[in-house]
């Protein structure tokens, strides 16, 4: 997949480590002839609900769809406002727009997490839902978000696409709000071998509603009460996910170990790594640092065979798709400034400590060397 010495992702390594166990599982689904819905999907829903300690989980085709179905279940419609950060992946905002609602952006803290003070200020009579995004596995301060939501009688939908297994006060991400949306995309910590997603609910009524809505709105084979969507998790993907769920804690621990190693190695004079909140357990879907001369560093690392990425270089409010919302450069200064400084380092569970060390040394050297050359 890549010729880099230290690749950003390594799905081939994951497959090699699992194939002996996973192949027979996939084969049994294929042999069953049940490819859409069925027991395999229900089994995954039960397993992931137990993992999250959430009363109800409904599997769907992607986290984007999870957000659309989740927002729709909360009654979001044309004219409503939904508060969300501008530094997420585009899907968070797209889900709001697809329902005809208005995304109201709120800027972020130095940690890249939604700023609760600004959330409170953004609330209007039209605010229907707050959508915190636990970007990269880092938890938004859910004490404050839940308090604000409760005080204003507003629902919370968590975009937990990147944060399965992250906790805040020991409680799993995606289970604070009425709705929690998760992604099982191939690049996520709990990943399928295709698109996939699921939604956690506190309410059985909402969960059942989404179960109907994900399959044409069909109550039974022949009856439609309300138009729905087609957004089902494939049985094959559900089987893969049920298997991988057992390894998720191990995956997260490996990633957390890699993050701790980076923190101890990277020179804080040049590399800003936001602290974890003492109340959170960050699952490190991504490990994002903030640096000056980001693009130079990225190019340098690439020339050293180290793969990196940027999540995300263009804030949502500055995308041409979002022009109609009327924002411009300067609308969300923290997000804009960070978009020029953030760099995501490889942190996948297949990296060795030596490889993490190589990355950290290469980064430190880049800054130390350029410091020396500018001294001269």
């Amino acid at each position: 997949m890549t010729d880099l010495k230290i690749p950003y992702v390594n799905l081939s390594a994951q497959w090699q480590s699992e194939k002996e166990e996973l192949l027979p599982i996939i084969e049994s689904v294929i042999a069953s002839g049940t490819y859409v819905g069925g027991e395999v999907v229900e089994k995954f829903e039960t397993a992931v609900a137990a993992y999250l300690q959430s009363p109800f989980c409904v599997a769907v085709n992607s986290c984007t769809d999870a957000l659309v179905l989740g927002l729709a279940a909360l009654g979001v419609r044309r004219g409503d406002e939904v508060i969300t950060p501008p530094n997420s992946f585009i899907a968070s905002t797209a889900a709001i727009v697809h329902l005809g609602a208005t995304p109201v952006f709120v800027d972020v803290l130095p940690s890249q997490s939604l700023d609760p003070v600004l959330v409170e200020r953004a609330i209007t009579g039209k605010t229907k839902v707050i959508m915190p995004v636990h970007l990269g596995g880092r938890m938004v301060d859910m004490d404050q978000i839940c308090e604000i939501a409760k005080a204003n009688n507003i629902a919370v939908i968590e975009d937990a696409a990147q944060s399965i297994g992250s906790t805040f006060n020991g409680i799993k991400s995606g289970t604070f709000g009425e709705v929690g949306c998760f992604s099982a995309h191939p690049l996520k910590n709990l990943n399928a071998i295709g698109d996939g997603g699921f939604v956690a609910f506190k309410s059985e009524v909402l969960a059942n509603q989404v179960k109907t809505q994900r399959s044409h709105g069909l109550v039974d084979r022949n009856t439609v009460e309300r138009f729905g969507y087609v957004s089902r998790l494939d049985a094959i993907q559900a089987a893969v996910l049920t298997y991988r769920l057992k390894h998720l804690e191990h995956t997260i621990e490996k990633r957390r170990g890699n993050a701790a190693l980076y923190r101890s190695l990277l020179d804080p004079e040049f590399v800003f790594v936001p602290d974890d909140d003492p109340r959170e357990r960050n699952s490190y879907h991504t490990f994002v640092v903030q640096v000056d001369r980001r693009d130079d560093l990225m190019a340098h690392l690439n020339s050293c065979g180290i793969g990196t990425a940027i999540h995300y270089p263009i804030p949502i409010h500055l995308q041409s798709a979002a022009k109609f919302l009327g924002h411009n450069l300067g609308s969300f200064p923290a997000t804009e400034q960070q978009s020029k400084r953030i760099l995501t380092l490889p942190i996948n569970q297949f990296l060795t400590h030596d490889q993490i060390g190589d990355v950290a040394v290469a980064i430190n050297k880049f800054f130390h060397t350029s410091l020396k050359s500018s001294d001269q």
Partner: protein
Amino acid sequence: MKVRYSYLAQQFAECDDLWLQLKEFVKTGDFTLGAPLVEFETKFADLIGSKYAIGVNSGTDAIKLALVAAGVKAGDEVITAANTFVATVGAIAELGAIPKFVDCNDTFCMDVDLLERAITDRTRAIVPVHFTGYMTDMRKLMPIAERYSLPVVEDACQSILGEIDGRKAGTWGASGAFSLHPLKNLNVWSDGGLIVTNDHKIAEELRLLRNHGLVNRDEVKILGYNSRLDTFQAVVGNWLIPQTLDIASKRIVNAARYDAGLGAISGVKIPPRPDGFKIVYHLYMVFAKERDALLSFCQSRGIEAKVHYPVPIYRQEALEKFGSHERFPVTDRHAESVISFPCDQHLSNDEIDFVISTVAEFYSGIQ
């Protein structure tokens, strides 16, 4: 004898070579919009005879995204057939558009003679549904659509390789939507769909729409959706696609055997088989007197007969919000009289003959 409806266990009983290909594929990690998907899209476009094919997550999404590309927005009216599967209407409703229905004729497709009176100033697109493997009479429909400058999105989910005068379903309108659902004539191991078009601009827009509107990894040109055909399933599709013509042929042969046998029974009426139509029999459907009793009788004899559909879409509760009280008499009559029998490529002649003799026995009993 038991005559089952789903043949999936038989279809994939011997697929060791596919299995090997999948094992090779999963090693690559190329799971979204990967190389086998591009290969499948190319092969599918060739099969249908269109320039472009774009893989999406379902037939429903194929219709929905094709409608977005056709410019359909909230408040617009979209004309479709009153007897279709819920997905056609669901796709229209998802966009906030308003479905307007036209009754069908005995080919289970829109009666094009009734189309023009359904067109209003707010009509933005026409979605003919090539239901059960028949085709809507596109020879009559296209001139009307052109006269009113209305884009046509063909719902070809059930009619892959269906034709009129040698021109395939999905290639008449601006775009054609296909389903790869496990029960379709070309089926993968999950939900899946494709859109075909000859228009480069539409193809480009559809590629954006299915993948969050992303022009590249970081730039979002339009707000899109997440609706990709899994590359894993494209591997299955590539394996199946050489068999597609044979599958259609076998279904046509099966239907001919049914037609001959059931056509001789007085309680059964075979739908018209118009000249120039290649019907691919995703469903083999006939009209039957005492339909409900026949259905129970067949089921009691181990034949998995079905009804598509007992409650017409236009009479579903979900439609109430559109506040139309229009009635569609042909569609209503069909809901009470149609019955579907298994017609797939794995069905044996013995099984077909058993269905025919069972139906004959039923009617001899009630005379």
